[in-house]
């Protein structure tokens, strides 16, 4: 009998999540979480149950949470750039409304941190092309736009 590699890798990931959850409960101060969203409009109920409530839970556990507003990532998929400011401020409002506390967590906009650009070369050097092609966002963009997919941030 052969094992389905997808099921196997799902089980491995689920097991890692369970182990991580135990560690988070014991020593939350040892962890830092980076998460975030593209500023493409108001967040919805899918975001709430899919990620936002978990971010608040992590924050309340005492994990150092960084919430990235991925404004640079909209360069390639934005038709009307003049909306960006309103969308970014709207995202801050969404975060505060759901309980992300700026005294405990760090909400920031990608484009405003020049040092992140300086970190991009060493960090990109750690990512293989094959690994990049397995990234769900990149896969989705490749399926949609093929060779026209940008090599920039996704």
């Amino acid at each position: 009998m052969t094992t389905d590699p997808n099921n196997e890798s799902f089980e491995i990931a689920a097991q890692r999540s369970r182990e991580l959850e135990v560690k988070l409960q014991i020593h939350p101060e040892r962890f830092r979480m980076l998460t975030g969203d593209r500023p493409t409009g108001p967040l919805h109920i899918g975001h709430l149950f899919g990620t936002l409530l978990n971010r608040v839970r992590m924050q309340e556990l005492g994990i150092d949470v960084f919430v990235l507003i991925a404004d640079y990532q909209t360069i390639t998929d934005r038709d009307a750039p003049e909306q960006i400011r309103g969308d970014v401020i709207g995202l801050v409002a969404d975060y505060l409304a759901v309980g992300i506390n700026p005294e405990k967590s760090t909400i920031f906009a990608n484009s405003q941190i020049a040092e992140l650009n300086q970190l991009m070369i060493p960090f990109l050097s750690l990512v293989g092309v094959a690994e990049l092609q397995r990234n769900p966002t990149v896969k989705e963009e490749l399926a949609k736009n093929g060779a026209r997919v940008s090599a920039g941030p996704s």
Binding site: I89, G90, A93, F108, E115, P122
Partner: protein, 46 residues
């Protein structure tokens, strides 16, 4: 700090922008520190 509803928060865009700038400042400090560690690890201190 008790969360407020989105609609009320959006009545004060300057405050939201100020919250964002505080976060940007913290993220900037963290990125500077990280960059310093990366250069150290790569022996790129000249």
């Amino acid at each position: 700090m008790a969360p407020e509803c989105r609609r009320d928060l959006l009545k004060h865009p300057a405050q939201l922008a100020s919250q964002l700038e505080s976060g940007n400042e913290r993220a900037r400090e963290f990125a500077v520190q990280t960059q310093s560690h990366v250069l150290e690890l790569m022996h790129m201190r000249y």
